[in-house]
Amino acid sequence: MTSSRTMTLNMGPQHPSTHGVLRLVLTLDGEVVVKCVSHIGYLHTGIEKGLESKRYQQGIPLTDRMDYLAPLSNNLALVLAVEKALGITVPERAQTIRVLLTELTRIKSHLVWLGTHALDIGAMSVFLYCFREREAILDLYEAVSGQRMMSSYFRVGGLASDLPPGFEEAVKAFLKTFPDRLAEYEALLTANPLWRQRTVGIGTIKREDAIALGMSGPGLRACGVGYDVRRAHPYSGYERYSFEIPLGKTGDVYDRYLVRMAEMRQSHRITGQALERLTPGPVNVADPKLIPPPKPLLKRSMEALIHHFKLYAEGFSVPAGEVYHAIEAPKGELGCYLVSDGSPRPYRVHFRAPSFVNLQALPKMVEGRLVADVVAVIGSLDIVLGEIDR
């Protein structure tokens, strides 16, 4: 640091290519990064603390704000952890809708990753195309929940409501056009010599290092480790879907790109299968202690009125104990550690945020490399600061 050869460069927290409020302090020797120190916490909103004072269902909207590019995945992690502690399983239709929507969420999240990653490296047009497709998924979000982004559609015990009429056709229309669009992006990038120069052999991380650093998701799979929670510990019925887990070889920026592109294809496949599995049925567990009764019933049934009142005044209790439930979010293993003391509010909720863990690998990827590569590597990590800082 004191050497006159090196220079300290502050990057962020307001820098377009840090994807939010990430601040890096880079020590440079000429154009080579000697040391990289990350500073996070600028977006710390105390979500875990906030959850402790909310009832279980009330906490769901807070989780939307963690990885705001994949709100439904966050909902799912919390909801599944609570359901595990309660010892309940939601009806098949609810499971299928959850799979359908979280796979669309994966595509949506990967589209923002691709658009911004390409923009960082200088390919402007990809960004505009990706946001066009993302818009179509946001419309689907809006159709089910009334919200484009902070949808909070999943509930402990099922869903906020059933799918609206015409939803399946809208998904079909999207699924029909998407593969061609994806092929368009690949035509723009995959064999593009400029793209390859900026990504091949850049930000390489070894398999052992990635495991020791706890990396998960596409970043880990790009190193050739086939860890995908959907396959290793299926939830919401993932064991009934056929899909592949795309793997990389070298663990560089280009491999992470290829893995995510292939994952979008697989998500497209799973979404199609989920549509076929969609059969009529209830979307909530038949437990009046968890799910409010239908409104018209309140005028006729005293019991329904009591349940309604109890649920909104007090909520439901979860047996005392602790669980850890992980899902495969677009960014990697999103775990929810829940401690219940038997009351209607969680005693402690902690989220194992994949971006938080993956970002820790950044110095290993950029030290000894050119400063221009830092931008490419951050893009390839696909971090969301809302989730890192929580």
């Binding site: 916490g41 290793a232 005392a320 669980v323 850890y324 550690y337 003391d341 005693y347």
Partner: protein, 177 residues
């Protein structure tokens, strides 16, 4: 819900006498303070002194191979029926090879340091910093123990149960426990 709500399901307990626990019992016998199985998840409470040795064993033993540390976090037990020792540090381990999870726990009181496991799994670095930042539990031997989410000059540790959730502490006191 009553406090006597049993945390261990006897039916599940039978399954829990799994390989992991067997090996741990062989190696650490007395050091296992408590073993709980709930919802098919195994939790082992260890004493501080044995933590790093146990972690190394769990990582390096071929039959166990817990090579992946998913998560480290803390719990402030101030408002739980058993409030002492006050803090719990929770390690969620995973074995990529065997697809198996295990939860380790250490209990410490205010001011007591927990040995770092950064030497076993590099990823523990930021997790331990987070626990230090939000709970005020120090980690002995940590290479870079600084606050991570809160500003460096912040006073207090926000995830402690006696830390107010909103600006006015009175609001917190009125909230039912």
């Amino acid at each position: 819900m009553s406090d006597s709500e049993t945390r261990t399901d006897s039916r599940e307990e039978a399954q829990a006498e799994s390989l992991v626990l067997q090996r741990l019992r062989e190696q650490f016998g007395e050091a296992l303070r408590e073993v709980k199985v709930w919802r098919n998840e195994t939790t082992v409470v260890l004493s501080r002194q044995d933590l790093v040795r146990a972690c190394r064993f769990l990582r390096d033993d071929q039959d166990l191979a817990f090579d992946f540390l998913s998560d480290v976090t803390g719990v402030d037990r101030l408002k739980l029926p058993q409030a002492s020792p006050r803090f719990e540090v929770v390690y969620n381990l995973y074995s990529l090879q065997h697809r198996r999870r295990l939860r380790l726990k250490i209990r410490v009181d205010e001011g007591e340091a927990v040995p770092t496991v950064t030497g076993v799994w590099e990823t523990a670095n930021w997790h331990e910093r987070e626990v230090y930042d939000l709970f005020g539990v120090p980690f002995e031997g940590h290479p870079d123990l600084r606050r991570i989410l809160m500003p460096d000059d912040w006073e207090g540790h926000p995830l402690r149960k006696d830390y107010p959730v909103e600006a006015s502490p009175r609001w917190w006191e009125e909230e039912p426990a």
